[in-house]
């Protein structure tokens, strides 16, 4: 059985205990000679839904890729600790086997790879019930989709749901979701929201990478990033206000003046 009895209401539960799952310490990263992340330090509390919000080009996705240790994003300065232990030297799969995973803004296509096999690949010994349940939880009808491949015959939104189903089946401790609403139609958005609720209700720490006000509202706690720096952090409703009132109208996104720097 996967995640039951969770949903929109589960998102509203406010925890009182704050146990750090992932500590990010003075994390910097340059790509092609340009500084993208500038000495970021923050904690991700276990079981919380966090959001990392900021304008395009702020470094949000780069931060997610660096945390996951993707190729090309591992040459960081600073440290990342999971359960207090540095994971800086670990590869993507080693981090995944410690419970971390990532959902892409635009999930990959896999010619010929059966959807069933893809969903099961992160869930050791996943049976048919686990797979079909994960599919149903993101609004994919198993009768219609199980025989298909994760290829170009699926739309971007469908692949997004398939990826989320694979994450539900995996039951990670920490999931980084890059633009979880990207390519998702309005009718399906609540499914994604509910799936995130299911993850959180099962104790998964969720990090939403977003510039959507709606998705930001799904989080309990948020970090506002601009130009590779954390500009603000706090309860998501406060960050929503700051983002709406200060960031969106800002004339110099990702090129802040000194006075605007944290």
């Amino acid at each position: 059985m996967l995640y039951r009895d969770a949903g929109r209401d589960a998102m509203m539960i406010h925890r009182t205990e704050r146990m750090s799952l992932l500590d990010v310490d003075n994390l910097s990263l340059s790509l092609d000679g340009s500084a993208i992340l500038n000495g970021l330090s923050f904690d991700l509390w276990e079981g919380y839904v966090h959001a990392i919000v900021g304008p395009n080009g702020a470094g949000k996705s780069t931060l997610a890729f660096a945390l996951m240790g993707l190729d090309g994003y591992r040459h960081i300065d600073g440290d990342i600790r999971l359960d207090g232990e540095s994971i800086r030297g670990l590869s993507v799969d080693e981090r995944a086997r410690r419970g971390m995973t990532l959902g892409w803004q635009e999930p990959a296509r896999f010619e010929g790879l059966p959807l069933r096999r893809f969903i099961a690949c992160g869930a050791d010994g996943a049976d048919d019930e686990t797979i079909t349940e994960a599919m149903q939880q993101v609004g994919l009808d198993p009768a219609r989709y199980l025989g298909r491949a994760v290829d170009t015959t699926l739309s971007g939104g469908e692949r997004k749901k398939v990826e989320l189903a694979s994450i539900l089946a995996m039951r990670p401790r920490l999931v980084l979701l890059d633009e979880p609403d990207s390519g998702i139609d309005v009718d399906s958005l609540h499914r994604i929201h509910d799936a995130i609720g299911l993850l959180r209700d099962a104790g998964t720490t969720v990090v939403l990478i977003t510039h959507s006000m709606e998705v930001l509202g799904w989080a309990q706690h948020a970090f506002l990033i601009c130009c590779g720096n954390i500009v603000d952090k706090g309860p998501s409703d406060e960050i929503v206000r700051y983002f709406r009132n200060k960031c969106i109208p800002c004339d110099h996104k990702n090129a802040p003046t000194l006075a605007e720097m944290p």
């Binding site: 995973t101 990532l102 990959a108 010619e111 010929g112 790879l113 059966p114 690949c121």
Partner: protein, 310 residues
């Protein structure tokens, strides 16, 4: 007709016991140059002539005959060494329909040549699909050379798939050339994975000579270790309304070498042929997606390649 022991062995290896035992399913099992088991069905006429190194086969599907169940043919050599030549003359009558699954079984090969030379004629409005499934040894001691000239009359359809199910390729030289009449449809697909010092040479050619003929040539190849693959797919279009596409993907790992030459020739202003070719290592985003679920890099690569070749 059944020669029980070799028939059973071939059927075992090819996993076709159910088909061989089914009285409504035609089959033909050939070990080296002998028919070890066969069954005919109405509308299908098979004539076999043995010679020292193989057989000459003449197969005729009568006009209008619809062979309801796939016909299983098995060409095998259970020995380690030898030569098997198959000369095939295959005529599918007008309006007929037949699916053939050919099982080429060489589980112990260390020095075997399997040479097929086929002349295939598909009549007007007929449909013929030919799935060639190979089971080889892990030694790689095989030379497999399937050659075919195929002619499609008007409104005919021909589909062929080549797949290596098990074992190592050895040396494979596929050479198919098809001429397509008006409104006919051609689909040729080859999916092969090479390793060790395997050599894969695929030459598939389609001539879209009839008005509104359609053709698709598809190759999916993966090479690792020191294996090499050369794929030459060619489509020509010389008639109005002819449409075609050549699609080649090759994944290389280790010291593998891949070479793809898609050729399209169009000599009619109302014909249209496209091509695409992608060669390279396993896609990084695919790899990292699967690794982010906990698969090792090797396991992720294997899964991606298995999907591509499925």
């Amino acid at each position: 007709m059944t020669d029980e022991q070799p028939a059973r062995q071939l059927a075992d290896i090819a996993s076709i016991h159910a088909a061989v035992g089914d009285e409504d399913t035609a089959h033909l099992l050939i070990g080296l140059n002998e028919v070890v088991s066969s069954r005919a069905v109405a509308g299908l006429d098979v004539d076999v002539e043995s010679h020292d190194e193989g057989v000459r086969l003449r197969i005729v599907v009568a006009d209008g005959a619809v062979i309801a169940k796939p016909v299983h043919m098995c060409f095998g050599l259970l020995q380690q060494a030898g030569i098997q030549r198959i000369d095939l003359d295959f005529a599918v009558g007008s309006g007929a329909k037949i699916d053939v699954i050919a099982h080429c079984v060489f589980p112990n090969a260390t020095d075997i040549q399997h040479l097929m030379n086929a002349d295939i004629r598909i009549g007007a409005g007929a449909r013929y699909s030919y799935f060639e499934r190979h089971i080889h040894s892990d030694a790689g001691g095989l030379l497999v050379v399937p050659k075919a000239k195929v002619t499609l009359a008007e409104d005919a359809r021909f589909r062929t798939d080549f797949e290596l199910v098990e074992g190592r390729v050895g040396t494979l030289k596929i050479d198919y050339e098809t001429t397509c009449g008006p409104r006919s449809v051609l689909e040729m697909t080859a999916k092969v994975a090479g390793r060790g010092d395997d050599k894969i040479d695929i030459r598939e050619t389609g001539h879209l000579t009839g008005e509104d003929a359609r053709g698709a040539l598809t190759s999916r190849v993966a090479v690792r270790d020191d294996a090499r693959a050369d794929v030459y797919n060619k489509l020509t279009a010389t008639a109005a309304g002819a449409r075609g596409h050549v699609d080649c993907k090759e994944i290389i790992t280790d010291r593998g070498i891949a070479n793809a030459v898609p050729i399209v020739e169009v000599s009619h202003p109302k014909a249209h042929v496209t091509h695409e070719a992608a060669l390279g290592s396993v896609d990084s985003k695919q790899l990292q997606t699967l690794m982010a679920r906990g698969l090792t890099e090797d396991a992720a690569g294997d899964l991606i390649i298995a999907g591509l070749l499925s």
